[in-house]
Each structure stands twice: as structure tokens, then as C-alpha cells.
Assembly symmetry: C2
Homo-oligomer: 390 residues x 2
């Protein structure tokens, strides 16, 4: 037993320190700046970013930094997205990385920056930069929890996960509560490992893991300008696991964090797992599941605990996936309410009182399957998102 076993998230793995502080960026006065530092001996890193073509300044910066395959540190702020802020916004991100470099004695070119909050406003650099100095002083081997707290926006809980096996660990933290969507969405995730793994191996493991976890979480169909998932390896455990074993651990941590994101989605009262089976290809299974996940009418019905399977069929019918409308089967919480595209078992048999709802759609068109997670659509969602910037 080492002290690391009491540390969580980004400091669960050896070779990392972290901090979370209040810089004053958020009007609420809650923590709003996090710093994660890799103390080596290795600095290999990989990243996955939003596929939105409108990218925030910190995304453009971090993508550039990651080309070197190394990260010494990650600085994250809540309270402002620094998106759609023009050249001045990019200069702010650059200055942020420079200050971290100065405080830690590393190159700004090895510092990733993540921001989250309202789009279209400059960050208060007079508060943010002193916050970095403060965070650098508070870096600790058990700082993972404080860091996770400092990146919250509308999150109601902070989110960390970790997996330890055979002497090495993968851990991480995430923020995100709305805008979870394809190609990730306002989701900031930092993962760390003490395994001795090079940048290329990290990249493969991270892309594989995000493809089946964060990319299949689709809370409201909206894609952020700021999504970032980073994976840093310190090599401090002095163990090099097999690639498959390592990738599985990364995927496990990502799946854990993705599930926590859905469980904390803005205003949601239901977590909805959509399993599409019998698809011709995995891509088609994902497309059908995502289309179901984005159907506002269905999401409202589930909020009302109404097993309205007709809305599932209407959603499937808008896709180009291979299927025969007369062979579609749909189950809600295990009751096959639709068989052969028509009425199946009695819908009154469906119990929808639990927070988790499982919708299964069998396309009878092939061997492929996929799962996408979403939430119900609620009046609370409308309220939170109509009042966000005011």
C-alpha cells in the first residue's frame, strides 16, 4: 500500500502533482483553476479534441503543443471558454501557458491549456495569471480531487476515476454536464498514467477509448468548441504494459468518466442507454443509436415515463441504415413493445420508474451493435440553458 492509493483522479498515478484553486474567474467565488504537472521521468502525451470547426483558442494552442508528443503540464480554467475571442484570445492562451512555464521551469510549448465556460468573452487575465502562481504553490501528490473540483461548471459533482493493476495506474478527471455530443462536447478530461508508454502508444489507446466512450455520450446533440481529452504518461511506475492491456485500462477509466458525465447532465432525470443490435455495420449501429438519442420527442416521452416506442421507430426511419421497417423490434427496459414494426408486448408492462432506461432496437440487418448514452429532455434543462449567460 502506498500513499498513492489514497489519491484520486489525475494524481492516482505516480509522478503527478495537481492543484485546484480559486483565481476569481468565476463570479461565484468557487474554485476555477486547476493545474496538473507531470514530474517524469517520461513526458509522453496524446490528445483528442473537438471536431467542431469553430475551435476555442486553448484547443488551437493545445493541438499545436501536442504535435511534439510531450506535455509537462496542463492548466485548466472554468469561468470562461475563451472561444470566438479572436487573435487576442489566442494571445491570452499563449500568456497562460507562458506563466505556467515560468512557474514550473518548463517550456510553454509543453503546456496544454483547457478552458470552459461562456463563449465569446475574453478571460480576466489579471485574475487568471496570479491564480497560476497560487496553483503552482499548492501542487500536491494528493491534489487530484481539488483539481477535479476546480474544473466544474454546471456540474453538480466532481468526477474522477482510476484503475490500478500490476503496479501501474491510469487515472483521470472530467468536467461536463451539458453539450455532450459527437466528437466529444464541452467535456474536459485529463488522464494520467505512470506506465512507461510512448506518445504513439498513448495516441492509439486514447483514440480507441474515446471512440467507444466519450464519443458515444450524446446528452443534447450539441458539440462544444472546447472539448479536450488529454493523456499524460510519467513512466514513474517503470512498467510497460502490453498495448492491449494498457488500452483496456484507458478505456475503462474513460467509460467510468463518461458514465459519470451522463449521470450529471444538466437538468436530466433519466439516463438513457440505447443499444442498437442487428445492424449491418458498427457505423450504422452508432448512427441509428445517435439518431434515437437526439429525438426530442422521445426524450420528452421518457421524461414522462411514457414507453412511446412509435417515436423510436420514427427516429430510426430517418436514417439511411440498412433495415426493413416491417422487421424492426424495439424493447424498453426489456419489454418488446414493438415486434416486426408493429405493436408487440403490452406497453403497460414497462416499468420506467428507475433513473436508468434501456432502449433496445434490433434492426435484423446484420451482426453489428453499438451503445449510445443520452438523457431525457426536461423543463429543468430548458431553464438551465435559457438562463446560462445572463
Amino acid at each position: 500500500m502506498t500513499t498513492h492509493q489514497q489519491s484520486v483522479g489525475v494524481t492516482a498515478a505516480k509522478g503527478f502533482r495537481a492543484a485546484g484553486v480559486t483565481a476569481g474567474i468565476k463570479a461565484s467565488g468557487t474554485p476555477d483553476l486547476a493545474l496538473v504537472v507531470n514530474e517524469g521521468p517520461s513526458y509522453a502525451a496524446a490528445g483528442v479534441f473537438t471536431s467542431n470547426r469553430v475551435k476555442a483558442a486553448p484547443v488551437l494552442w493545445s493541438q499545436q503543443v501536442l504535435k511534439g508528443g510531450q506535455l509537462a503540464a496542463v492548466v485548466l480554467n472554468s469561468g470562461g471558454a475563451n472561444a470566438c475571442t479572436g487573435p487576442e484570445g489566442f494571445q491570452d492562451t499563449h500568456a497562460t501557458a507562458e506563466r505556467v512555464g515560468t512557474e514550473l521551469g518548463v517550456s510553454a510549448g509543453e503546456v496544454a491549456v483547457c478552458s470552459t465556460g461562456l463563449i465569446g468573452e475574453r478571460l480576466p487575465m489579471d485574475l487568471l495569471l496570479p491564480g497560476i502562481t497560487l496553483a503552482a504553490k499548492e501542487l500536491a501528490v494528493d491534489g487530484g480531487e481539488a483539481a477535479a473540483i476546480a474544473i466544474k461548471t454546471t456540474d453538480t459533482v466532481h468526477k474522477t476515476a482510476q484503475v490500478t493493476q500490476d503496479g501501474w495506474t491510469v487515472g483521470g478527471m472530467a468536467k461536463g454536464a451539458g453539450m455532450l455530443a459527437p466528437g466529444l462536447a464541452t467535456m474536459l478530461v485529463v488522464l494520467t498514467t505512470d506506465a512507461a508508454v510512448d506518445a504513439a502508444q498513448l495516441d492509439v489507446a486514447l483514440r480507441g477509448a474515446t471512440r467507444t466512450t466519450f464519443d458515444r455520450v450524446d446528452s443534447d446533440g450539441c458539440m462544444s468548441t472546447n472539448d479536450t481529452v488529454l493523456l499524460l504518461a510519467s513512466g514513474a511506475a517503470q512498467v510497460t504494459p502490453g498495448q492491449a492491456e494498457f488500452a483496456a485500462a484507458v478505456e475503462q477509466v474513460c467509460a467510468d468518466l463518461a458514465r459519470q458525465l451522463i449521470g450529471d447532465a444538466e437538468g436530466a432525470s433519466k439516463d438513457i442507454r440505447i443499444d442498437v443490435t442487428g445492424a449491418a455495420t458498427e457505423d450504422e449501429a452508432v448512427t441509428v443509436a445517435r439518431t434515437i438519442a437526439r429525438n426530442n420527442l422521445l426524450k420528452c416521452a421518457i421524461h414522462g415515463e411514457d414507453p412511446n416506442w412509435g417515436r423510436v421507430l420514427a427516429a430510426i426511419g430517418t436514417t439511411a441504415a440498412a433495415f426493413d421497417p416491417d422487421q424492426l423490434d424495439v424493447a424498453i427496459n426489456g419489454v418488446w413493445v414493438c415486434r416486426g414494426g408493429a405493436v408487440g408486448e403490452d406497453r403497460s408492462l414497462v416499468d420506467m420508474t428507475d433513473r436508468q432506461v434501456v432502449i433496445t432496437a434490433d434492426l435484423h440487418a446484420g451482426p453489428a451493435a453499438a451503445t449510445v448514452w443520452t438523457n431525457d429532455l426536461t423543463a429543468d434543462y430548458v431553464h438551465e440553458n435559457s438562463a446560462y449567460s445572463t
Copy 2:
């Protein structure tokens, strides 16, 4: 001046009679069955249907009927969609057309059927068939309003429109309040004209008109299994207008009805017109406008009268349309809050108190433009759609 000028909707044109009655299909006891009859001398007709691959029985039936290019009558019911009801549901539609044929002395093969309501339940044929007999008795040259009333579901008002010029008329009625989406959506529209126009000309005019009107109304991104737009010509005016002139009149009536649909969308408090300009092609302009129209976060912001232009940019960024993120301009109600992808005029200048909100996005990528209409997302929408089938 003829008495026809006092008749509205589907009986505004000469050669048509209509009725709307209470068959008892709806539990509410309000009118739920409409009949529109073409008395000739011509019976040319055209139709456009949902592009949803899961099609209701009446859609499958009417598509088949329209292959002949002639319609003697249209029967429409609210209170049940007859979708996902299997072979029995198709037999119900067939029996409906047969009863209309018997009552009117025409072939069932020239009777279109439209249904709207909950998916996945059989229609109460024991009530519907006597309703047809009743409606046949009540057919009248001023029955257009009664017919429009009988096809309402969650519509708060009935919807009719008409245009008269040079001795000929195009008129119509529509129902629809939610699920307005691409390729039309639970939208039933019957248009009539007394112009002497053949089926091929009707088809061209109708496809052209729906492409730029109903197809660009996207209330909630959901596409129905039942959408139908029909156009019947009686030739009773004994005038054959030029194709361009005729097409323009059809488009004008469709635009009027489409605007009424948006104005009555479920739970909406704002009608949102999205103008995309400077697109490379019209298709890209439509895609960008539709993507903005479907952004739940933006729809919530507009509900809150919050000019949150960042959400417009985040939506545009998810498309593959030609544009440079640093050249995007966005105006809300005429105030250019975003210039060159960054902060523009002061957002506090935007007045959003009116029901209509106009969002303009200039892509600076070409000469094409398009307009899509949508609504805001409200707690009332959630309420209506979480309680619909229960």
C-alpha cells in the same frame, strides 16, 4: 364576386366540397374527420410524402393511389396515426378508402387517406366508417373551415390560406404543431385549385413549393411517419395559367400555411427565422440553417431572450459547409453581435422581446442563401410531449 370568395381553404377554389365532422375517434369529442371532394371536370392530383422510411399505412396507400395522377377525394382523420400497425392497419386504410368510394360513387383507387395522432394503435373503425357516411352528407361548398378544424391535433388554431388571381384560385388547409421537420413532418396539407392543370404540372409546382416552404420549417428536428401534402385540381375555373405563375401561387399558399404551422408550434414562445447568406451553394445554406435550427442550447437561449451568439457559431462549426471560422458574421435581430468569428456589436443592443427572432449568419463563402424557420425550446414543449400519449 362569387360565393366562393367567402369560402376558405380547400373550398376557396371552385369545384370542391368539404366537410368536417365528429366521428368519435378522439376521446375529447371534438371534430376528427374531414372529407374533401373534387367535383371536376378534371381530377388531376399530385402528392408529396414524408421521407421517413417508417411510413404509416395511409401514406403507403396514398402514394400508391397517386401513381394514377388522379384524386376524386381525400379523407383525413385526427385521433390516430395508423402508423406501425402492421397489415391490419393497412387494411383499415383500405376499408376507409372503400367506404369513401361507396358514399361518393367513385373508385377507392382515387381516394387518398391521411391520418394523424398517436403511433402504434389501431383506429376505431367502428367509429371512423360511420363518420365517413356522416361527412359525405355534410359536404358543402363552404365546408373548408369545418374540414380544417377537424384535422387539428394539438394545434391551437385551424389553418387555411388561399390566393386568387386572373379567375383561378389556389387554396388549402394544414394541420401540424410539433414534429415539423425535414422532408415535412406531422403535417397534413390539402391544397386545391380550380385551374385547369394536368398532373405533371401539379407535381412540378408542388415539389418546388414544398422544397422551399414546408421542407424549411423545422420546429423540433423530428420527422413524422405520416406527413402528406396533396394538391388537387378541378379545372372548374376553365383557365390554364402559365406554369411559373401557377407555381408561384402554390408556393405562396404553402408559405402562408408553413408560417402558420411555426406560429402554432407546440409550447413555443418564439418563432425563429434563420437566414444563412454567403453560402457556397443553396444546399449548404440549408444545411447550416437547419443545423442552427436544431441546436437545443440555442433554442433554450432564445427562449430566455439571451442573444447567445456563441451557440450559433458552435452549431455552424459542426457542419461541413464551406466557411472560414474567422470570417463568420452573426446578427440577432439586426445587431451584428459576432464579426469575423469574434465579438462584434454589444449584445445588450439586441432587443428580443418580440415573438419573432431573426438570426442572420453570413458565411462569406459564396452567393447562395436560404431561410429555415424554427421555434424556441420551452418547458411547455417538454410538458406537452411528455404527456402526449398518457
